[in-house]
């Protein structure tokens, strides 16, 4: 107890010491946030020296730092968390191929655009003549990144042309899945489309653009002074050709940029209007998103229930093998359980969906079901094994003297008693699985959490979507816990 108190004191001291250290960051540093997972040409680790970052955003950060008389320092933030991190003040400016949008302008201090991009439709070469526009893709799966202008355009096209949007968490797998035939087209920035076609032979970028967007820098809403300084530096760099030089180095300079720069440097107009869906009030947005959230909740329930059934079957088989099987089988099953429990579920989902894609192309939902089922099956097996071993020896002796063989003893005596012991931890696991099912969004399954994250990104706030999502998870998990308690009570009475 004394030790615990001393430890708590130490933690407080460290924390108190750490807070001023963060708050008093020397003003000579420009902390710029980005996602190095985005890769070239945005930000990526230099292949020749992975400790160094390269990309046009890195050079823009350097340009801004030079103008401000500061030293750039990179802060790694996941792409979908950049807005929230800006509000929290995790960095001074975010630069990571961030798109201009009304939600961002309403919630953050946004710089003038420094690059104009086109939304481009990428298809397989064989389909180049068939799928020229979104209207040609009725009933077809079209991939994109969630929470982007391209996603908004796809949602609009879903209503108008009946395309089926498929969202990814990264901008690499949409193109590899297009090459594999899992989707029929990809809609993303021309910058990403060029890279996708370069990396995946057999893909083709349609020449007509579907929409226009702009990359901007983002800052905390109160940081307008720094934003205005950055705007001045960007305008100056547009005039003297430094920005052009950067984009030429990365082969991104095209005929659209001079026109954009001319507009921004010759006028006092702050920003060209971004092309996106109209800004809604939070409550109006909540009302509109409710059906989508309910649909996503159904997917969460169905996926979790099927995965749990698979987990139970797998768990029972593994546990039986480990209790009754020969030594060799026991060793193999033990190794399997340790491998599954010792590696992240996220990694297992990636391997199942993307890693095995060249061998077997599992549909996303099936891969999610198998991934969750096998992962939880390993945990279930441990519960069942210990429950089987917890059935008193005397019960097994009694079964033997009555003439039951091993199989009959398992089915009639040991199994039912073990199942009662396992029920409470099983219910816990099911509630945990319900929440872990949110991880499957990395393999394009849009379940409750993913849908909420899209909703939050579009309205620029997590508060209402987060509360709605939490309420739905609770509505799913609380009855389950109640049901389990009821069954346990009934069985205890029995």
């Amino acid at each position: 107890m004394k030790d615990a108190g001393r430890f708590a004191g130490l933690v407080v001291l460290v924390w108190l010491g750490a807070v001023p250290a963060v708050a008093q960051e020397p003003s000579e540093t420009l902390r710029w946030g980005g996602d190095a997972e985005g890769g070239a040409p945005f930000v990526e680790a230099d292949p020749n020296d992975p400790t160094r970052l390269v990309g046009f955003e890195v050079e823009i950060a350097q340009l801004l730092s030079n103008g401000l008389g500061r030293t750039p320092r990179f802060v790694q933030v996941g792409f979908t968390s950049l807005d929230a991190a800006a509000v929290r003040g995790d960095f001074d400016v975010g630069l990571s191929g961030i798109e201009d949008s009304p939600a961002r302008r309403a919630r953050l201090a946004v710089t003038i655009p420094y690059y104009e991009f086109r939304e481009i439709l990428t298809v397989r070469e064989a389909d180049a003549a068939r799928y020229r526009t979104l209207a040609d893709l009725r009933g077809r799966r079209v991939a994109t990144l969630g929470s982007t202008l391209a996603y908004d355009l796809l949602i609009e096209a879903q209503g108008r042309h009946g395309v089926l949007p498929v969202t990814y968490e990264d901008d690499v797998h949409p193109y590899s899945d297009l090459a594999l035939g899992r989707v029929d087209a990809v809609l993303l920035d021309d910058v990403l489309a060029e890279r996708g076609v370069r990396r995946n032979p057999g893909l083709f970028n349609q020449p007509t653009s579907v929409g226009v967007g702009y990359y901007v820098g983002i800052l905390a809403p109160a940081n307008t002074q720094l934003r205005d300084r950055i705007n001045e530096i960007l305008r100056e760099a547009m005039r003297d050709g430094r920005l052009e030089a950067i984009f030429r180095r990365w082969n991104m300079w095209d005929q659209h940029q001079p026109a954009l720069y001319a507009r921004l440097t010759n006028q006092t107009t702050e920003l060209p209007p971004p092309q996106t869906t109209a800004q809604l009030t939070t409550w109006e947005a909540a009302r509109r998103y409710l059906p989508a959230l309910l649909n996503a909740a159904v997917i969460t329930v169905v996926l979790s229930s099927l995965s749990m059934m698979l987990a139970i079957v797998v768990g029972v088989l593994i546990a039986s093998g480990r209790v009754y099987g020969p030594a060799a089988l026991r060793a193999v099953l033990t190794a399997w359980v340790e491998i599954i429990r010792g590696t992240p579920l996220l990694l297992q989902l990636f391997v199942l969906y993307f890693g095995l894609a060249t061998v077997v192309q599992l549909p996303a939902f099936l891969a999610a079901l198998i991934g969750l089922g096998l992962n939880y099956g390993a945990y279930e097996s441990e519960i069942y094994r210990s429950a089987l071993e917890a059935v008193p020896r005397g019960q097994l002796d009694a079964a033997r003297t009555l003439g039951f063989n091993d199989r009959q003893t398992l089915l009639l005596v040991r199994g039912p008693q073990a199942f009662r012991l396992a029920l409470a931890p099983m219910t816990n696991d099911f509630v945990a699985l319900l929440k872990d099912s949110s991880l499957v969004s990395v393999i394009t399954v849009v379940e409750l959490t993913k849908q909420t994250s899209i909703f939050a990104a579009n309205i620029g706030s997590w508060l209402v979507p987060g509360l709605m999502c939490a309420a739905m998870y609770l509505m799913l998990s609380l009855p389950l816990a109640r049901l389990a308690r009821r069954i346990e009570r009934t069985w205890q009475r029995a």
Binding site: G394, D397, A398, T401, L402, G403, Q417, R420, W491
Partner: protein
Amino acid sequence: MVLDVRGIQVVRENRRVIHDLSFSASRGECLALMGPSGSGKTTVLRAIAGLDPFTTGAVIVVDVQLTGGRIPHHVARRLHRRVGMVFQFHHLFAHMTALQNVWLAPVHVYGEPRGEAEARARRLLEKVGVGHRGEAFPHQLSGGEAQRVAIARALAVNPPLLLMDEPTASLDPARRGDLAATLHELTRDGTTVVISTHDADFARQCAARVLLLEDGRIRPTT
């Protein structure tokens, strides 16, 4: 002869716990193995029931002969038709009613139709005096009731030999008298009963013969 134990030895963790033990019991006889705790009474019963192996010697139950070591599956199956066992702590199946405990083996091991087995189970529970407790679960039964259900369960496959380990451990004096009466009735019907007990009064009350066991050997009676 229903039971013939011929010179069995039991070794546990390199220690001999039963030494060259021989005895027999005939049809309808009640035999008591008496001795202090640790004298090997339960070990002998478990060896006869085929639960624990013995190293040398033989056990013959009616027409089934066990020799030392692991018991083959087909021998065990025949043995369990001939030997019923009532454990000191009864070991009733905790998730089943008294009635289910009794008809489970006849139906699932010996293929008796469920209706017939259930009717016979009710009659057996009546016979041992707990007919009114058929729907109760084991944790709802008193020690005496649980023991009677365990006897009914062991008798459900009509074994010629019934083994009972410390049957008076959980009984008050009145219930001991009832048990002795039940055992008399069983032996009168031709069932051979072997009980292990350290209760001398009970042994004398119900057994025709008493064998004194000490350190795994039969002590010669003086």
